[in-house]
C-alpha cells in the first residue's frame, strides 16, 4: 500500500472544508449573539495588509481546486470571488467540495514527476506534481485555513484547535 497525490490532497481538502464550515457557523452564531455585524467579522484581517476572512476562504478554495486542475489536468471551474456574506461563503465551499468530489482519482495517479507550471504576477514557477503538492499547495491551503481560524479566534469566537483539526478521524 502507498499513497497517491490524490490521497494526500482531495479527501484532505474535503475534510478541512467540513471543519471550516463548522468554524464559520460558530463565527456567525457568535456575531449574532454579541450583536456584531457579519460584515465586520467577514472583513477582519489579522494584519492591515493581510487578506480578510472572506479572501482567506476564497484562497483556500482556489488552492484546493488547482490541485486536481494542475496535477490531474482537469478543467477548472473558475469562481468569481464575489462572496460578501456567510451564506455566500458556505455556497463557495459547497461548490468547491462538489468539484473536489467530482475528481476521478485515476487522473492524479503517476503524476509525481509530471511538470506543473504555476503562473503568477511575479512570473512562472516550475514544479513537479510532487513538489507542487507537498511544497506549495498543502502549506498554502493550511495557511489560509489557519489564518481564517485565527481571524475568528482574534474576534473572540469560542473555537479551539480541535475545531480546526476536526474530531472525527
Amino acid at each position: 500500500m502507498s499513497l497517491t497525490l490524490y490521497d494526500v490532497t482531495v479527501p484532505v481538502f474535503i475534510r478541512a472544508f467540513g471543519n471550516l464550515t463548522e468554524i464559520l457557523k460558530k463565527g456567525e452564531a457568535f456575531a449574532d449573539e454579541k450583536g456584531i455585524a457579519h460584515k465586520e467579522l467577514l472583513e477582519t484581517r489579522l494584519v492591515d495588509d493581510m487578506y480578510p476572512l472572506i479572501s482567506q476562504i476564497q484562497r483556500a478554495s482556489d488552492t484546493a481546486k488547482f490541485v486536481p486542475v494542475r496535477v490531474g489536468q482537469i478543467e477548472n471551474i473558475p469562481m468569481a470571488d464575489e462572496e460578501v456574506t456567510f451564506a455566500d461563503l458556505h455556497a463557495r465551499i459547497e461548490k468547491t467540495v462538489a468539484f473536489l468530489n467530482s475528481v476521478n482519482s485515476a487522473t492524479m495517479v503517476n503524476r509525481e514527476d509530471a511538470e506543473v507550471i504555476v503562473k503568477t504576477r511575479s512570473g512562472e514557477t516550475k514544479f513537479t506534481g510532487k513538489s507542487y503538492v507537498l511544497g506549495f499547495a498543502l502549506p498554502n491551503f493550511y495557511f489560509h485555513v489557519t489564518t481564517a481560524y485565527a481571524i475568528l479566534r482574534h474576534k473572540g469566537v469560542p473555537i479551539g484547535k480541535m475545531d480546526y483539526i476536526g474530531r472525527s478521524q
Copy 2:
C-alpha cells in the same frame, strides 16, 4: 511511482523548518533594528489564550518528531521546552531537523493501516498511520508554523507568504 508516509512528512517538515529559521532570523533582525526586546517578540500571542511564539515552535517541533516516532515506531528524543531566546529556538529546530534526518524512511513504509494511538489529557484517540498523518499531524504542524508566521507579521516583521512557503522547490 507513489508516495510513502515518509515522503509526505519528514522531508516536508525539514523544508518547513528551514523556512521557519529564516523567518525567525528576520524577526530577530527586525527587533534589533526597532529596539524591541527579543523577549517581547518571543512571548507575543495572537490572542491572549493562544500559545506565544516560543511555544508555537516547540509544538511544531513535537508534532514533526512524533510522526516518525508514532508511525515508524522510532524512539523519541524528548525535548524539555526550556527555550527562552532566539538562539534557543534555532538550537531546538536544529536538533529536531537532525532527528528527522536520522529517520530511516524504511521504518515508515507500509504503515498506512497501522494503529496509531495518541494519548492526550482528554483521553486516547485511535488513528491509522494514514489518518494520523493526513488528518492530524500535517494540519497541526502547519497550524503552528502559520501561527508563528502570523505572530511575527502582527508585530510588523517584514515577511511575506513566500517566506512561509519557501522559494526553492
